[in-house]
Symmetry: C2
Subunit: 137 residues, 2 copies
């Protein structure tokens, strides 16, 4: 868990245009220090240890803010819960439906080409690729 220093976290938030508060700094320190895949609930649990006063709703709000400002990405693999990815570099994911394990695929691993014409009122936002795998057995 390479946590980020509070100073670095504050700078990061400011740079992203997010008003700095203590809780946001705490969450950034715990989550943005190194690439990680975490559900909101997992992050709530982690924050309970590191910052017991922090409320569940604040974690959810803050994650939403981070997504809106491009500090983290949402990965949606199974309807049940959203996974947040602190690695914002372009890359793809594989997901093992048997174990629930989620992993990274480097951007070079596969290429998506031939982006189709979109109806003129639609604007491209992102292309999510999930490689679904299953552990043999």
């Amino acid at each position: 868990m390479a946590d980020m220093t509070p100073e670095a976290a504050s700078a990061l938030l400011r740079g992203a245009g997010i008003p700095v508060t203590r809780q946001r700094v705490q969450i950034a320190c715990a989550f943005l220090g190194a690439p990680a895949h975490l559900t909101a609930e997992q992050l709530v649990a982690r924050m309970r240890e590191q910052a017991p006063g922090l409320a569940r709703a604040t974690v959810y709000n803050t994650l939403g803010l981070f997504v809106a400002h491009g500090l983290v990405r949402e990965i949606i693999v199974d309807g049940g819960s959203v996974i947040y990815d602190s690695n914002t570099a372009p890359h793809f994911h594989y997901y093992d439906s048997r174990s629930g394990e989620l992993g990274d695929l480097p951007a070079e691993a596969l290429r998506v080409s031939g982006m189709p014409q979109l109806p003129p009122h639609l604007e491209l936002e992102a292309v999510d690729v999930i490689v679904r795998v299953r552990s043999r057995g």
Copy 2:
């Protein structure tokens, strides 16, 4: 809503190795007749009209069965709910996060190449591509 005949639905179920029951035939008739994107709840609502006796849990169970036997596909776009796709031909999807609209992209519209090496204990199941768009405004 090009519903399927009960006879065709029974044959389809049998062909997929799914034991035939009246409810499964009803659901197949209502959903598998033509390509459609429906959430479980939407299908529950539709079944309430066509077959009032049918329980919510039965719809969920049956959709799970259909997925396991390849009769429909799950599309996961927003964490909140799973969308079921009765079109099992290879194709991709676009999703408008603003309106919630989900649409098809033909398989030829884009190409995914360079499938990466997977760790040896993992078996490829599917590659899901979701093109996220946003209506301008």
